[in-house]
């Protein structure tokens, strides 16, 4: 693994690890502060978040709507597109407990993360991150397969 790939991987792992403390300020610090139009597209956001103001609002709300959040990354693939630009895809399993009187059992999902990072004076930093779950029909099939596996006593 090259030094650059290792450095990008370390930033990704730190970014994902921020979930444990819901440290969204640290997550923001792992974005390129000089990027004029960062794009963050969380899977649960009906509209993409384009620009710092939209992203800051999202992170502020996230701190309030969730009581607890855990995340883990796997299958991290990093491609250096140039000396200072990287494309990374990785799987992210998040587990969240929502806050407030409607809080229920934790929910979780697996999301494919698609990131662009740039090497800056502060290190590698995100400037675009698009979260991609499988679509509704595929998830419905996965849910049905999980139920069927119970009856057939099979592992999925």
């Amino acid at each position: 693994m090259s030094d650059a790939v290792a450095a990008v991987r370390a930033v990704i792992e730190e970014y994902v690890g921020c979930a444990a403390t819901m440290d969204f300020a640290r997550r923001r610090a792992l974005w390129d502060a000089d990027e004029p139009e960062p794009i963050l597209c969380p899977e649960e956001a009906a509209e993409p978040l384009i620009g710092w103001q939209a992203m800051d609002g999202y992170w502020s709300r996230s701190r309030v709507v969730m009581a607890d959040l855990k995340a883990k990354a796997a299958h991290i693939r990093i491609t250096l597109l140039a000396d200072d630009i990287a494309w990374a895809t990785y799987d992210n399993r998040w587990i969240a407990t929502m806050a407030g009187p409607a809080a229920e059992a934790p929910i979780a999902a697996d999301v494919r993360m698609n990131a662009l990072l740039r090497k800056t004076a502060a290190g590698w930093r995100y400037f675009q991150l698009v979260e991609g779950p499988v679509d509704l029909m595929t998830m419905a099939r996965q849910a049905a397969q999980r139920r069927a596996a119970e009856l057939f006593d099979e592992e999925i």
């Binding site: 794009i39 597209c41 956001a45 494919r112 499988v134 509704l136």
Partner: protein, 158 residues
Amino acid sequence: MSTSFAAELAPIAAACNAFWQAWSARDDAALVNLWDLDDAAATYVPADAPDRILGGPAIADYLRQRVQDFQDIRMRPAILKPRRLKADLGAAFAVLDWAHRRRAGELPVGGTIRVAAVLRQSEETWRFCHYAEAPVAPLVELRQFYQRIAADGHEAWS
């Protein structure tokens, strides 16, 4: 947007639009031709499968098979944000409405996805090396569906 800025981004936007038009035309040759097939690290993240497709040849096979799988395909971009990263390197973020019909007589299905793409220029042509389809979370899509039914109300229902 300045003229030079627009000119810098126009070829990237054109490649994206050509890709979606090729889907709508079910033109598999055009779809494949818009990919850098020599890129062993190329990735395609489909919305309807959990695994990524890796490498130009596997992506070409996937594109050809998808064209065969559907009788009608429609792709319509709602938002397109191209970026120039280097002289020969670009990226695009898009919001894309899609619909397809497997066979004549079947009702089509469709939805909206977000797209993250990376493109490279070689020999004057911009081609994709990474493309990720990113739907909204199924939980959110279901909630939106319930909300649309609620918006219909009882008046048109019986």
